[in-house]
Structures are given as C-alpha cells and as structure tokens.
Subunit: 244 residues, 6 copies
C-alpha cells in the first residue's frame, strides 16, 4: 500500500511556522518521513524569530534554511506583524490563502489552536484555518487572479505538551525509522542558537518516545486533524494506540 | 491502494449488537462495503430483542439472520442478561473476550458509550471495551485455554443522533456506492417487525446523507475510534470533511 | 397558550447575518413561524456576499430582500469590513449595539461561535454577543443619545452541522407546518445565485428532518441559547426530544 | 399564559429522591410553586436515610412525610438496596419504570448524574434515566401488565453545588414569591434531625439567591434537562439570565 | 508554616483590572488577606470606567484609589483602548509585559477568559496571559531595556458566577477572618457610585459564602490557575473542599 | 516551610492499588518523597495480579512487599473480586471505607477514573471515591463500630498516559532528588516478573521527565485532585509549570 508518485496521496504538504524552529521541533520527523516517501514539502515561516532570547534574525534564517534542507523541504519567509507581535487580521489570512492557492497542497500543517502557549502560535493556527477556507471562495477580491483551491486536511502540530488539543482524537505518525530520527535530530541541532539554553531537543525526543510506547513502536508524533476524516473503507485502520 | 486479500488490512471485523437490528440500522452500509472488499465480518447479537414493542424473539432472530446474509456477514446470538436487563458484570466482559480470542479480529465495532440512549447500548459498548483489554491479558483464568489476542482498533457506532460521542473526532466512511446503499436498505427492511412503527429507515438514511453532504460524497457513516490512530504516513489523509 | 399581540412574548426579533443568505439557510423556517404568530422580525446583513464564488453583490442584495419579504421580515444592509474580511473590533460591536438600542428587540439571533466555520460567522456571533452587553451600559460615549436596552435572550443558529455548539443544550423549534416549510423553501430558492452550485437546500432540509425525527415532529430547527433560561414554572416543558 | 387545569402543561410531576430530605433541600421551592399552580406532584423516596449520621429511619420518614404535605405533594417510600448501598441493577430500573407507568407523569425530576457526590444520588439519577426509557418499551416482561408511558422531560436537580452538571445549559425556575419561599423553608425545617448539625438550609437559600441575582429575580432554582427542549415558538423565551 | 518576610512565598502580587471596581468585587478579600500577611500588592486598572451606567471617571478613580488603600494595595491607572473598547492588540500585551518586568511579581491575577461576560474582562485576561509570556522573552524590541521576568503563576478571578471557568479545578482561598471580610466590604462600599444601583455587594458576599460552606469555613474565594501547580510535596494539600 | 512531625501536613497517606505494581509504576516517586519527609504511608492492594500475563500470585505479592519496603511504606492485600474481575459493589466501597476509618489518613491516593484503561483501575478509583464519603457518614450499619473519618483530599494517579484526566488541573510533585528517583527505580525493578516483557520502567521515567521539563525541574509526577483545593493564602503557589 505504498503511495505511488503523482497519486493524490502525494499531493504537496504545506507547513506554516510562526518562528524559524517551530516546525522542526514540533514535527520535523514527520517531514523527514514524508519527503523520503516522495512528497514535496514547503515551509512558510512567518517571522525571523527576532523576539527570541537567543540568536539574531540572520542566524535564525540560516539555521531554518539548513534545517529545511536536512529534512528535504523547501522554505520561504514572509512578514506578518513580526515575532511576538502577530495579530488576527483578515489581511493576514488572505495573504496565507494566496500561498495556499499558489502551492496547491493536499495537506496543511499549522500550530495548534490551544491558547495557553506562545501568543504567535495559536494566532497563526487560526489564521491558517481561516486561510484554508478563503482559498476556496471564488470572489475574494485580493485572490481573484489565482484559481480557488481546496485542501483535503488541515492538521495541527503541538510545539509543547501544553499545546496538545484535549478535544481532538490524535493521529500518531510512526517515525521510528533510524534515518528519520537521525534527520530530525540533525534538523533540530541545526538551530544552534536555540539549543544551547534549554532542553528543547530532549523535550521533543522524550515526548515522541512516550507516544511511541503508547503506539507500540519506537517513536511517534501526534498530529490533530481539524475535521472529520473521510475514508473509503476501514483498511487504513489496521493499527491503533492500544499497547498500554 | 486497494487492500489485497490476506493482508492485515483485511483481518476479520467483529461487530457486537445489543439487539437484533442495532448493527444494521447504525452501520449496515459499512458492513456491506467491507464484505464487498473481501473482509470477513461476524455479528454477535447479545439479546433476541424480547423487550421491544414489536416482534417476537423468533421473528427477530430470523430477521437479523436474513439481514446479516444480505450484508455478507455471519451471525451468532449469545445470552447475557436479556433485552433491557443488561448489567455491567465482569463475567460478561470475559465472555465477550472469549469471543474476541476465538474470532481473532483486526477490528471491533460496538455501540457508543454515550449514556443517554437505550441502557443496553452503552453498557454493551463498555463491556466490549473491557473485553478488548481482557483478551490481551495472559492470566485470566476463564480464558487460559485460548491464545491472547490484541485488536488494532475498537470503533463505536451510534444508533441514534443522540448516541454520537461529542468528544471523539469522527471517521466518515464513504458508503455512496449504489449497491452498498441497496444492500443496506434491504438489510434494514429485513427487520419487518420494527420498520412498520417508526421512521427508523428514514432516520438512518437521512443522518447518513447529512454526513455525505459534509464529506462531499453521496452518503457517509460516522464511526468513532476509541483510541488514537496510528499511521505510517500522511498518505491515508487524502480526503477530509470540509465541503461546507 | 398562544401569545397575545403586544405581549412581551412578541417583542421584536432582531436577526444578524454575515452574508445575504445565512439567516434563511440556517433558520428561515423559524422566521416564517414567528412572523405568522405576529412577531416583528428584522434582518441586519453585514456584507453583500461579495467574496462568494457565485453572484454579484447587487444580485445578492436583491435575493436577500426577496427572501426577507417571503419570510415576512424587514431587512437592512450594513458595512463592517466586507465579506471574508470581518475582524473583531470594538467599533463594530458598538455599531451593532446601536442597532439593538434602535430596534429594542426581545430576542437576538446570531451565528454560532464555533470557530471551525466561515471566519465571518463566528466573528459576527462574538460581535453580537458583545453588542448585547454594550447595549445595556449607560456610559458608552457613542451610544449616549439612545436609551439603554436589555434583551431577554441571545440565541445562536448554525449554518452548517459543524457550526452546532457541542456544549449548549439545544432548543428545537417545531417548524413542521406545511406553510412554514413552504415559505422557508421559497426563501432559500430566492437565492438563485447560490443554489445552483451545491446542495445547500437539501442539506438544510435534511438536517431539519433529522431534528424533527428526534423531536417526534415533522421538522425542527435547533437554536442554542447563550444564557440560562428563566421560566416562571415547568409549564413550557411539556414537550421534549426523546423519541429515539 | 397561565396553564389551565387539565392541560398537558399540568400533567403530574414525579420526583425521585435517594434519601428522605434530598428533594426538599435541592428543589423544594419548585415543588411548592408547581402545586400552587395546580400540578399534582408525587415523591418516591428510595431509602429511609438509615445510613445518615443523624435521625432514626422512623423519624426521617415522618419528617419527609410532613415536608411533602407542606409542599402539597404526595409521597411513598420504596426499598432498593438501602441508604448508602444503592447499586445499578436492571431490576431497580424496571421497578422505577413500573412507578412511571403507574403515575403517568408529564415530567420527571431526579438527582443529577455528576458522580462526585453521595454515591446514591448519581446512581438513582441513572436508574431514573434508564427507567424513563424502559417505561416506553412494550415488551419488557415485568411491565407487560401496565400500559407504556412516555414522559415529556427528565430534569435533574443538584443537592449540592458540586452536583451541578457543567455540560447542560441550566433552566432557572423563578421561586421568588414569598409564600413559595416560606413553604420551602418550612419543608426544610421539617427535617429537624438533619438541620441541627450543618448549615444545610443556609447553603440552599444562599445558592438559590445567587441564581436569583443572576436571573434578576429574588430567588431561582436551577434544573438541568436531560434532553433538548422542544418548543412551538420562541414565545417561552421571554426571560433570560443576563443580569450580570 | 507561615511564610517569612522576603521569602519567595511573599513575592509581590500584581493584579490587573479592566475597570475601577472589578478587582475589589471579584477578589478583594484575597487582597486584604495577602497584604495582612506581608505581601506587597499592586493594582493596574486599565480604564476609568467611563462607559459604566453610573459615576464619572474622576469619581471612579477616586473610589478605586480609596478601595486599594483600604485593602493595603498600591494602584495605578493605564490607558489601553478605554472602557468597553478594549481590543486584543500585540501592543497592549507588550505594554502589560513591561509592567510585569517593572514590578517583578511572583503571582499575577487577572480576569478569567470565559467569553460570556463583559467584553473587556476576558480580553484583558488574554492580554495578561500573553504578557506573562512576553515578559520572559529576551528579544522583544520594546522591552529590551528591562530584564526578563518569569512569574510563578497566573491566577484568574471571576467577577460574576458566569465568569467562572468550568474546565479548571478551582483553588479556594479561605478569607473567613472577620477583619478580612470587614476590609473587603469596606473596599466594595468605597465604590459608592456603583453600589446604589444593583446588589453587587450582596452577590459577591453570597457567592463567597457558598464557597465557604463547600470548604467548611466561613467564606472562601475561588481562583483558577492558568497552569499546573508545582509542589515540593503533598504537605500543602492538608485541606480540601469536601464538606458536602 | 518544611512540615514538622505530627503536624496535620504529615497525616498518614493511604494508597489504593488494583494490582501489585500499579502504585509503584504510577507514583512510586511521590511515595519515596513523602516517607523521606516523615509521613506514614500505607498501601492497600486489591488483588494479587493473578490475571496478568506474567508472574504467579505468590511472586507478585513478594515483589510488591519488597517494593513497599524500598519506598518506606507498609502494605496489606485485600480480596475484592479478583484481578480482572472487579465490579462496582456497595459492599466493596464499604469495605474500603472501613480501612479509611481504621487508618485515619489525611490523604487518599487511588487510580484515576478515566474509563479507557484496565477495567479494574477506574472501578477501584470510583470505589475509593465512594468509600471516602461513606467513611464520613455516621449511620452506615457495617461501619458503626468505627469512628467516622473525613479525609482532606482524594488524589488520583494515572498508571498510563491515557489514564490522565483531561478535565482536572494537574498538580506536579517535584521528585527530582536523586535518592528519590533511585528508590523509585528500585521499587519498580522489584517487580521482576513484570519488567522483562515491556518497557514499563522506561515509559514511567519518560513520562515523568516530560513533566519535569514542563515544571523546570528534573522529574515531576502529575496527580489529579478530586476536589477544589483549600488554601489559607497564596503562599503555596510560589512555583508553576510555565517553563515552555
């Protein structure tokens, strides 16, 4: 049941991050796995991390670019309101919707909507959710020169344990393959300005190990779907997280 | 990406029902689809419907047997406490666990745990959830002569709208194929003692049409997983319920 | 127990919609029923639907005006930020509060606050909730030339199944009378620019039929109160949704 | 809009209590109000309070009988498993269903299902919910000599603040009339064996005053409906709890 | 186990209020108790109450200043968008974060995030939550001249019963000491422009009495922590709210 | 602020476990910390683990006794219905209540009530919650020869991640001290029959490390209080889980 190239199962994956390291820390192993399976992945980073305690904007852009390469993804940086200054604005959602129309992804990944985390995270998640809808509507003035686009799913990632939604049934993606873990670890380590100060890498590896133990595999990353899943049959449900 | 015969994706499906018509009304179309895909499906009915307002136990057993045949499933009847008398007893869970060990299913289907419905429904759902665990434990005295068995997933069905869990993200199974809907309708109509009095068939077809409209297909049945999903990659997520 | 004209039970109903067809599709049958009972109903539409995939703003204003007439309601259009551009601004809430003070309604209807729907819907719902409070406060500078007004209830409607709040006990309004269904259907069909593309009318009729089956009537529309109900006695509770 | 005698709005009210004083303390003022409006009210008390810290069973039966008279209700005592010994048994639900069929009430009142309270309270609430369904089913062997009966609503009361459900929108019943408060207070004081030790009466009066302040009246008691309300129109919604 | 002066247990308490009387009415008794124990408390009031139905801005500033003095707290007034006009802006969160860095509190108090209350309340709560995070981040341009600061806890207060979060386990602070209740009552009465019109003082005293009865003390105020508590041992858990 | 011996802060801790290793795996480090602080801790184990896949009852009793000694706790074994056979019975709750009256603990620890875990776990949690109430009631026949006893708190532990309640704010107990971790690890390793088959020890250490990272300490165990906390002041809130 491996997806074949050019199948709808390999439509591009578009991933939004509020800061240069959020995607890698939260779900870098999923990216590494998907690119190895042949899926195109594109990162859109909505600040240069200029409000962080460590690292200059230039350093952080360089680190994120290196990490994306290690994961097999392309990357671009856009300006919204700046790090630690993000606001919910219709203009932002429309800007993100234009990127959706340009990239034509099958799937979107964005930070979760749990509000008790970095204020930029949940705001970006909400903007992406709105953008996924606006990308479908034909009459939005600013988007009229691009064809409407409907994504199959918007999935949320959680940068920290507190950011995991409590009201969505998680989907655990098995990322146990050693080369996937290795690529992920390398991508996290590429953020040298961030990893000196706190145990970010350990936190993530540990969280993902707990999920792996739950799923009976080595490591697994939890993603949280915005909408009900639609399946042709029960066939994809041949594995569940019932080990303990 | 069709599952191949003998693949783990086609491990048997074991479905528990509290009364002779519950499975058919709640999710008969899913059964019809799975058996057409080559999956073995077995029904275990835990009463003869003897407390219902219409139909004798013999009639109801005959109706359920005919309906199972129409859906391509095998069927057996077991005695717990009797219709409208079901209680949560360890002995019941162990009895159901023995059936799990005998049938060795990949997936279980059972009524949802929402307590504001027929008292037998949620109690049976809870007994099945307990049974799925007991089937794994090696030392249960009454089960020692049968090999332990672990299912991949326990999925819940909802006989009525009120029985749909509000805290689980649903999985919508596309059952739009005309032959699937036809087999399902025939199976519901096989319960002639039940369908004269109320609009049960219309209720189910209408609910499933609303789900189909949400999913952008003809008809879809919502199932509710007990545990987190485990996937190898994002490939199965190529469709979502985002039409409205 | 029919309400008598001029009783507080017939105080005007003020209904807010984000787009020209939202009110009709979500709860047009409730409007038809209330106007037939003698209640004055006024619609405030907060965009001209200019971002939709179909129909020009002029067409859509004409369609909404026709639909309002068919339902027996008056209608006005106001400008906030425009279709698909609505933001949460204090100035908007104050503008809506001024309308509340002018119309002096007993009841408000607004789109639900569930955030996983069209971004304009839940934002308008939140603005209306804030407006209902601001209409009461005596010192708001922009409102000082109008008398304070307190509404009895704010009720939410859900344009789609996903927009139904899961944490509010619904109130089902019986709209089974054939003339009510006929007026509602005509009002939905008046939106000719919208109904060609998708099964919007079927979606709504089907949803409302499921609710009717739950309530043991032909058709029923679910509304969701923002606040606890206050009753003089248990007398209004003579019917419940317990049919299945 | 006063209900007229013999109208469905005045169908009997059947109230279940786990112990001799639960009904009076939790919602005695609602009883006093309903009997004054002409509704027949019947209490079924499922123990004699023999596990309480104060009062003999005989005393407590006498106190409850006096309190019921003060509130205008009739009363009977039944045996289930005894005070502090109640279990969820099908036979109990069937016994309660037989009482429902005998009394033919329009409305049921029972303790809430919140499990963090006296163990008998939520178990009785669950038994009553099951009984309300069993009373409808035609084929239950033990009930065949009595006609099926369907109640309009099951409403829950909360004996303590902790027992108030957090996921049901409350209905506040205005009990401000001085004669209603007086009858209620007298009924609580009739339980002389209980009121010496703790501030039960003050607790209840204070809770009900907070609800009254919320509703903009003197005193109000919160009840919690098991099911969606069904209304003919918006007319009964002329008052809401929006004072603060 | 009394905290000793200069211990981390007596780090300053910083309390934010949207209007001149919110802090006093919601949790004035907690303030009175803390200042009596030797903790420094500072109030930041984010409007002058100019949209209220009663009192001029000058009156209200004078009343709040008097109340703060009665409670032993210092007070300052800041301008955000004005009473009834508050919006969620990054600039506001940064402004509040600057105050956090200046005052260096151990604990923050802010209005709860429940959105069905005065629109300024929950917006201020959200701004304070964001501010607590921004105060920690080293690179925020506007804050670079002040040292980063991390608070131990952010606790929410509820001005009205409706504002109490339903998904956070409350912490009840025992405020039964007569001198604490007296200081609190005096502080509420200092808001003479507000207390003539409604039963605000009675509402608060009554709410706090219900909590006291739950906790087995005279009076108790419920606060709601934003984050998990961290304790060195189980020793602080020697009292619980289990009286009824 | 160390608690002094004989203070109410050091009242005995009574811990219930469904199987011989549950307490150690779920919260052994908390036990090790409390006994080091001078608190008496007593374990009551409600089966001999006879349904587990590994180990004989005699082995498991010996392992648990050794583990308790390593943690500084006393231990006793009682018979309810046997491993994997536990049912909710009033007689069980009364039996546990008698132990509460005999031990006179300040605090109770029991498995959480989340029903999607080993069926014995949540049932025992519910029985303990009921027992904590029954221990207070003076008139329970079977308990009349023992003085009533009221505990300060009932806290829940979670044997697995799935068993963590999602609707209770956790309390994280700092267990970072090396000697505490060492004692805990030794106690887990004492269950030699269990630790060969699965990664139970790694699962627990990893979970507790994630909590430690959240709390900014080495390791922390999450407990979940059944009731609101009651505090004399804000002093115990000098640490919070706000590190990420």
């Amino acid at each position: 049941m491996k997806p074949t190239p050019n199948s709808p199962d390999l439509a591009p994956l578009l991933v939004f991050g509020a800061h240069p390291d959020d995607i890698e820390f939260a779900c870098g192993a999923v990216i590494a796995k998907e690119t190895r399976l042949g899926r195109a992945v594109h990162f859109v980073i909505c600040s240069r991390g200029e409000a962080g305690s460590h690292g200059t904007p230039d350093q952080r852009v360089a680190e994120a670019s290196k990490a994306a390469t290690l994961l097999g993804a392309t990357i671009e940086f856009i300006d919204l309101d700046g790090d630690a200054h993000l606001e919910i604005r219709a203009a932002h959602a429309i800007k993100l919707a234009a990127i959706v129309r340009r990239v034509k992804p099958g799937l979107l990944l964005a930070p979760s909507l749990v509000p008790n985390q970095h204020p930029d995270h949940w705001r970006l998640g909400q903007l992406v959710r709105d953008a996924a809808r606006l990308a479908r509507y034909g009459g939005v003035q600013e988007l009229r020169n691009m064809a409407s686009h409907t994504v199959a799913h918007l999935l949320f990632y959680a940068v920290t344990p507190e950011a995991e939604p409590r009201d969505i049934t998680p989907i655990l993606i098995d990322v146990s393959a050693p080369e996937v873990i290795a690529a992920w670890t390398a991508a996290m380590e590429a953020h040298t300005s961030q990893t000196s100060a706190r145990n970010y890498i350990e936190l993530q590896i540990t969280r993902v190990r707990v999920n792996g133990l739950r799923a009976g595999v080595g490591h697994a990353i939890a993603l949280f779907p915005n909408d009900a899943l639609v399946l042709d049959s029960l066939a994809p449900l041949s594995r569940g997280a019932r080990r303990f």
